[in-house]
Symmetry: C2
Subunit: 233 residues, 2 copies
């Protein structure tokens, strides 16, 4: 049954782990589905917060744009992860924009529904705190990297993190499973696409990575780890 399958998916979502099946059934009944094609925008920075989503399949990117037009990538979202966390924290405007990188499929709920469920079922609220705490922690790490490391180290850390989060074993190494341009890496590491390009070229030379148009494969993770830890400043 379709309904049963949906519940299985919800059960594996980060926000709903450990939530009893009847509650999941209630959530399933209240949900709608949303489809996005690659490049479609789920919501834009500044939009009113009225809907909450969970990714079923696909990959999305959360970005923040400055008034001057510079962009920063906050994170990538994959299956099971939530989009629109502001619904949980009572925000009124989305702090960033969320865009589909591949054709994607999501569950959606009106904000009031999720807020109500969270208030009635502590387990969901506890999960929400855990997920947000984890994202907070991840940001602490990135902030520390950005403050204290050189560009090459930061790129190494970022590529390793992406390989871990969205890596896919191939014959040549661990391939990052979604399109990733030099510009994207620059927006994640606080540098320019030129510097990223030079860095990847140098790594390619040494056989550490294999990369091309919007594509990165890590061939020698150990060598990258070494770069990332480089104690010699």
């Amino acid at each position: 049954m379709e309904q049963q399958r949906d519940i299985e998916i919800l059960k594996r979502a980060e926000l709903f782990t450990g939530v009893p099946t009847p509650v999941l059934a209630e959530l399933q009944a209240a949900s709608f589905r949303k489809r996005l094609a690659a490049g479609d925008v789920l919501f834009r920075q500044g939009d009113p917060v009225d809907t909450f989503y969970i990714v079923i399949v696909g990959r999305l990117r959360v970005t923040q744009t400055t008034p001057e037009g510079a962009q920063v990538i906050i994170r990538y979202l994959g299956p099971g992860q939530m989009a629109g966390y502001s619904v949980l924290t009572g925000g009124t405007q989305h702090p960033g924009s969320t865009t589909a990188l591949d054709d994607s499929h999501l569950f959606g709920w009106p904000a009031a529904t999720i807020r109500d469920m969270m208030t009635r079922h502590a387990a969901i609220a506890v999960n929400a705190a855990a997920v947000l705490g984890e994202r907070y922690h991840e940001m602490q790490v990135r902030l520390r990297e950005l403050s204290t490391e050189r560009v090459e180290q930061r790129i190494a850390h970022t590529v390793l993190r992406l390989a871990r989060q969205a890596g896919h074993r191939t014959a040549r190494g661990i391939e990052i499973a979604f399109p990733l341009s030099r510009q994207d890496l620059a927006e994640m590491t606080g540098t320019t696409l030129h510097t990223v390009s030079r860095t990847l070229s140098a790594w390619e030379e040494k056989g550490i990575v294999d990369s091309g148009r919007r594509r990165v494969i890590v061939c020698r993770a150990d060598a990258l780890e070494a770069m990332a830890e480089a104690a010699d400043k």
Copy 2:
């Protein structure tokens, strides 16, 4: 009554807003008190997560240290705020160190107590999610600043944020209410104390700030805002 006064304090804590009084009484009964002198450490990065705190009076600083010894300031904590959020998210080790800047006074609870209360009272868990979401958001903003802005702009943003969070009106301007060295500002903005010193000297010249040994007073917030927004990169 002492107990009554404690409950009043808890009622105003960020984690317990809107929580019914009987629950606060239960929390009060389970709490212990912790005193710290200026400079004392509440917990250290890597310590096992076993206690949760709420600041009653005083000011603390949360830092992260890299293996190479470089430090980054994650945030400052004031009255009503929580310390040891990992208790709420199920972490096992503290991601950062927390140190008292002034003589401070806190409520403390064993981790299990808070986790139990959070599970039994959804309102607490909902607050936890809201607080962590806010901190997550704050980190997004800092990450964006660090990625896209020049040092002077970052220092301007940081000083303004501190003035907003811990500002104290005086005859000469808004004084930041805790000791804040050039080194501290450097660790918040990802630069060196030298650059911070030069920047503050230049601002002093223009009458924008008045600063001295571990002390900063913002005289002309408008001029700082202008620096912070500077669209001319």
